[in-house]
Amino acid sequence: MKGVFEIPLTRGVRLTAVWDDRFKTGCLSATLLAPHTKKTASLNAVLPYVLRRGTARCPDSESLAAAMDELYGARIEPAIRKRGEVAALGFCADFPDAAFLPGRPDILSGTACLLGELLLTPATRGGRLRGDYVRSERQNLIDDINAEINDKRSYASLRLVEAMFRGESYGVSKLGTLADAANISPYALTKYYKELIATAPLELFYCGAEEPERVARVLREALASLPRTGTFAMPTTQVRAGFGDVKEKIIRETMDVTQGRLEMGFRLDRDGQEEPRYAALAVFNALFGGSATSRLFLNVRERLALCYYAGSTVDRNKGALFVSAGIDPDKFEEAHSEILAQLASLANGFIEPWELEAAKRGVISSLLACLDEPMGLEGLYLDRAILGSRPGPEEFAALCQLVTAEDVAAIASEAKLTHTYFLTAEADADA
């Protein structure tokens, strides 16, 4: 890596360029940051897909695909991500590095230009986003929401989050609700699009062999017609603190499944948006359920053989901990109590030096490995952009080294189980 450069391009637009000639593919992304709310979730989710249908110059999928063929199969894909209560929507592109192509074509300019067109000059009719594209992508969004049920593990996790954060934007899935999706009209979406493109912070990311100054020049040109009004305030996540004694709410749902999906949701006292708190959360999670040396893997899976997968994740933006396991429908009690017993053991400070060390090494190693992958870097710098300036990966690794057993125990003891969701087999409904 030759360096990371942060270059403000214009008001509310920042380019992060990782100058690195080790990769065979370059990566370019453009991400608008908007509040994730019940009202906007479906609009956020559908917009990149509608824009991706066609531009003024390439008004349909065939002509767009032809343009990308000429760029040696550059891909520009819609991306919708939810970070806490921030929606990150836009496009991620990757393309082969010119050094390996006949005649060294200028793939970067071509891709940037197309990316700019997708964002700024969509195919329109009468000044509105094309009605046929909006209707068709609205239907696709409705189908996608309906299809959430296909993947039972993520379906269970969505239901848990919905129940646990009822009344908070965080509880709304990144696709929004069926009712809101059905309400999307060409008029409303066009209005939303125009407002967003003018007022939302726009994060650009590049990773590849081209000089950052040249990347900035190319992008400035591609985005020359970007309208900019407003203050470009970064959307934030509301964190509710102080969950004292809460009574766990258990939700059971039955379905035609052979495996039960257990999801447990815990509130933490605070979020993990600041370091060193985040370093402690990351190490805690690796130790509790985020690695092959974790308590959940070694006990729920290896010792008790209750599952094939059992793991935990932490949402640093919201301050929440989630546990997920696929178990026999009869083993609910056993798994549920073992998971809580492991958490209690950590809260009581029973932490072996080797497991703390293993957790730290795991977190640091996967972070460093991330630096070797363009898309890994993209995600890392997007998180950084949302949370404001943060220490770089190396400094973060150093903070992980400083995490103590007491830090881990403190996080385990602040975790309050508020909701458990169990998706189980039909025959088992009355058991």
């Binding site: 065939e62 068709s136 189908d143 599952c307 997968y309 795991g362 070797d372």
Partner: protein
């Protein structure tokens, strides 16, 4: 002796050698990268159920290769190898496919310490009776997880339409019934037969010294010249599907389908790479996102972004497939086959084909940038007899006529079976 070869078209260098006991070692240096990956593959997978070793016949239950993979991490008198690797910060895992079992890790430090452990635990079985039931319970949950997944369900239902041989119809993990019959002795026999250096390959990708990798492999791989197992061939499969359709109902949001056809069998070496590239180009020309057909079906709302295609060449058999979520599976399948017949009759537009090839070149380069893809493909190439880094060269030789002929032969009504998962209720 290490042999160095440079591949200008993809900008890679590979060092290859064979240890005294016959293990193929390949090192692909990646200067400037912090992570390194090691991948130890065995030419043995879920489809290899019947075999002979030194004249003795073995018939193993479905799921044996996968069970070996789960249990092999146990080390006598020490912690489980997965725990040890993970403890050192390495990200380790293993998988079993129909024709390969592989153990791998990625790490940013202690590479040689980890490599030693990988070579040791994979070549030193420790299969005890205790622990068998525990592992069976874990694998049973893995099987159930896949049973509940509609994408797995639609895939295996297609295989059951296409193939007659049990080993090709069933998943590598086996069933809860079949794994009940697996004992520690079953695992020992399978390991003795297949986990012999001549039947294995080690691939390392990263900023590591090739000589030291070879020395480590020489030191730790057992010096055995055990006979190689001989697979008992399945009854030959005819070109046509066993049955034309299969369906079931599940709790899904929208129906999904997968249609497919058996293609060439017994493909080996460079010929298999050319066939695979031809198949993939044919499918992308016919129904990829850039095709007129994709636009027609997508604009009509008959398909969504889940629509896609695949080509697989495993365990001596190859098949093509295409599908996704749709309300009209039969209609989409029919339009695909009609369009294929039309293209086969009219030929492929040269300008369109030239563009598809540019994209194929881009995607070959993209694939060669991934450590995982390099490891898997170099190992698979070693077992089959081709050089993965020659892919771009082979791709350049595929013609529009190859693609047309592929569509004419395989994308036909009598060859394509369809599997459908309908919405329950």
């Amino acid at each position: 002796m290490l042999k160095k070869k440079e591949y200008a078209l993809v900008g890679e260098t590979a060092f290859t050698a064979e240890t005294r006991s016959g293990l193929r070692v390949t090192v692909v240096p990646k200067p400037g990268f912090r992570k390194s990956m090691a991948f130890l593959a065995v030419n043995y997978g879920g489809a290899d159920r019947e075999f002979t070793l030194s004249g003795e016949r073995f018939s193993t239950p479905a799921g044996t290769a996968h069970f070996v993979e789960h249990r092999l991490f146990e080390v006598e008198g020490q912690a489980n190898a997965l725990t040890t690797l993970s403890q050192r910060g390495a990200n380790a895992n293993a998988f079993t496919s129909p024709d390969m079992t592989a153990y791998h890790f990625e790490c940013t430090d202690s590479f040689f310490e980890n490599l030693r452990l990988l070579l040791q635990f994979v070549s030193t079985p420790y299969f005890t009776d205790e622990g068998m039931d525990r592992e069976r319970a874990i694998i049973a949950q893995e099987i159930r997880m896949m049973e509940d997944d509609p994408e797995d369900a639609v895939y295996y239902a297609l295989l059951r339409c296409l193939y007659a041989a049990p080993a090709l119809r069933e998943g590598v993990a086996g069933t809860e019934e079949s794994i009940a019959a697996i004992t520690a002795q079953t695992l020992r026999s399978a390991h003795r037969a297949f986990y012999t250096p001549r039947n294995m390959a080690l691939v390392v990708v990263g900023d590591q010294d090739p000589r030291r990798v070879l020395e480590t492999a020489e030191e730790l791989m057992p010096e055995t010249f055990a006979p190689l197992p001989v697979r008992v061939p399945e009854k030959p499969e005819g070109p046509l599907p066993l049955k034309m359709s299969g369906q079931r109902a599940m709790d899904v949001g929208a129906p999904l389908f997968l249609a497919g056809a058996k293609t060439k069998s017994g493909l080996l070496g460079r010929e298999s790479v050319k066939f695979e590239l031809t198949a993939t180009l044919a499918l992308s020309t016919l129904l990829g996102t850039a095709s007129p057909l994709y636009r027609e079906l997508y604009d009509a709302g008959a398909i969504n972004e889940t629509f896609g295609y695949d080509f697989e060449n495993t365990a001596g058999y190859s098949q093509l497939s295409f599908g996704g979520e749709t309300q009209k599976p039969e209609y989409v399948c029919m339009r695909v086959l009609e369009t294929a017949a039309d293209l086969a009759a009219r030929g492929i537009d040269p300008a369109f084909f030239a563009r598809r090839k540019k994209t194929a070149l881009g995607s070959a380069l993209r694939s060669a940038g991934s450590f995982e893809n390099i490891c898997y493909n170099v190992a698979a190439g070693g077992f089959s007899g081709y050089d993965y880094f020659d892919t771009v060269e082979v791709l350049n030789a595929v013609t529009a006529e190859d693609v047309r002929a592929f569509l004419a032969e395989y994308m036909t009504v009598d060859r394509c079976a369809i599997s459908i998962i309908r919405k329950k209720g």
